[in-house]
C-alpha cells in the first residue's frame, strides 16, 4: 500500500471567513497535487458556515485562482468572502 504524500497549506481567511475559521493564518493539510476546488471542498466540510456565504473565492499568491489551479505548500492562499469595498 502506497501512502499518499501530504502538504501543509498556509491559508489566510479574510472578513467574515476569518471570523468563521477563527485563526489567520490557518494551516490545512491536503494531498499533494490538490487543487483550489479540493481546498474549498475541505474547508466547507470543516466549517459549514462558509456554505452560507453569498460567494467564496480563492486567491493564490495575490491573484484570483479558479478551481482547477493546483496549490502547493509554497503558495500564499487567501479565502475571499464577498468583497464590499467603496
Amino acid at each position: 500500500m502506497i501512502k499518499n504524500q501530504h502538504m501543509q497549506l498556509r491559508v489566510l481567511p479574510f472578513g467574515i471567513a476569518r471570523d468563521i475559521i477563527g485563526t489567520s493564518p490557518f494551516t490545512l493539510e491536503l494531498e499533494e497535487g490538490a487543487r483550489v476546488q479540493d481546498l474549498l471542498d475541505r474547508l466547507k466540510v470543516q466549517f459549514p458556515e462558509l456554505k452560507k456565504l453569498r460567494s467564496i473565492a480563492v486567491a493564490v499568491n495575490e491573484a484570483y485562482a479558479d478551481g482547477s489551479q493546483a496549490v502547493t505548500g509554497e503558495d500564499e492562499i487567501a479565502i475571499i468572502p464577498p468583497v464590499s469595498g467603496g
Binding site: G15, K52, L53, R54, A59, V83, S84, G85, G86
Partner: protein, 136 residues
C-alpha cells in the same frame, strides 16, 4: 497611484497625482460614509483589506480602463480601519484629454473596485454589526 491607507484618502492629493498638461478633464469619485443604511443608523464602518492583492487588483482595473478608454492617468486610494459617518473611504481620480473618457473610466473603476478588490466592510450599529454583502 494605488494605495490602502490608514488615514482618509485625500481628493486633492489624488488630483495632483493624475493631473498633467496633456489632460483637460479629471473625474474624481469620492466615497463617503453615510449615517444610515436601509434606515438603520450606522455608528461606524470597519474596513479590512488584503492589502498587497488589493493594490494589484486596483492596478489591473486601471490597466483595463486604459485599454478601453483614452485616459492618461488613474489613481485609487482606499481606507483601511475605522471610518465614521462623513469620512472619505475611497477616492478614484481619472485624468484624460477629454471628459467622456474620464467619466466612463472612473465609473468603470469604482464599479470594478466594488466587485473584485479584496476589501471588506463591517457596519457597526448601536446594537450589533454586520459584514456587508456577506450573505445572500
Amino acid at each position: 497611484m494605488f494605495a490602502i491607507l490608514q488615514s482618509n484618502p485625500d481628493p486633492g492629493a489624488l488630483t495632483r497625482l493624475v493631473s498633467g498638461p496633456d489632460s483637460g478633464a479629471i473625474d474624481l469619485f469620492i466615497g463617503t460614509v453615510r449615517n444610515q443604511t436601509g434606515g438603520r443608523a450606522v455608528v461606524a464602518l470597519e474596513f479590512e483589506s488584503y492589502g498587497p492583492m488589493a493594490k494589484k487588483e486596483m492596478a489591473k482595473i486601471a490597466e483595463e480602463a486604459k485599454s478601453r478608454w483614452p485616459v492618461n492617468k488613474i489613481a485609487i486610494h482606499h481606507l483601511e480601519g475605522r471610518a465614521l459617518p462623513g469620512d472619505t473611504v475611497v477616492v478614484i481620480a481619472v485624468a484624460a484629454a477629454h471628459r467622456a473618457a474620464a467619466f466612463e473610466a472612473c465609473r468603470f473603476a469604482i464599479d470594478q473596485l466594488k466587485e473584485r478588490v479584496p476589501i471588506w466592510k463591517k457596519e457597526l450599529y448601536e446594537d450589533g454589526e454586520v459584514w456587508v454583502a456577506a450573505h445572500p
